[in-house]
Symmetry: C2
Subunit: 131 residues, 2 copies
């Protein structure tokens, strides 16, 4: 048996610069990726619904984010050739698993923000006694 630092013998290691899993992790946890997956975890949404839900995202970045997530197989795009066009985005089974974990992280953070904010105040106070 080989000596290894990782606890499992997975073929993909996000800590390696060259591993493709790092790119996917960045799509998932990126600024807009995380929020997009979080929003879609609550249910299927159309483009502009998503845009409103993810406060602050631009059209371009939302489109770009959705493309990356669709390419990675986390989001499914359902376009209906009607007029006006209607496009729904929803999570794939894989996307749902990822979003589940992401949501656990987000809720953990949201629930502990008081501690975070308190820590920030302590940190800042200690560094800025008398400017």
């Amino acid at each position: 048996m080989q000596e290894r630092t990782a606890e499992q013998d997975l073929p993909y290691d996000v800590f390696s610069r060259a591993c493709p899993s790092r790119g996917t992790l960045e799509h998932v946890t990126g600024r807009w990726g995380a929020l997009t997956l979080g929003a879609l975890h609550e249910g299927s949404l159309r483009f502009n619904e998503l845009r409103r839900r993810v406060d602050g995202v631009s059209e371009k970045m939302l489109a770009q984010t959705l493309h990356a997530l669709e390419r990675d197989g986390l989001v499914h795009r359902e376009a209906q050739p009607t007029n006006p066009p209607r496009v729904d985005y929803e999570l794939t089974p894989l996307g749902r698993e990822v979003a589940e974990r992401l949501k656990a992280l987000i809720q953990c953070l949201e629930g502990r923000m008081d501690e975070v904010l308190a820590s920030r105040e302590r940190y800042d106070a200690q560094r800025m006694p008398t400017p």
Copy 2:
């Protein structure tokens, strides 16, 4: 009981542009934040150990990342005034909880990369029939 889109009545909502939780989420899930927390989840590490473990990070970005995580109360910095100096970084209890969730996400992704890669090939093939 109020009608709400969110499933819980938390005071912090990461979907709002102005909520401080969004900033913390970005520190945690940011390019280097996620990998740094992941690395520290395996145990306490010194600056340059961390630098080697998180393949590709520069001194500046690692320092910057560690400051943000320390300020948010996720990482504890233990400096020993020896010569040469020795500084150890370790997760706080709060940081451990966050890292736990993060690790679940990372391992989920690493374990499903074959699906992701297959999806990418399908996506690319469908868009590039004959350049």
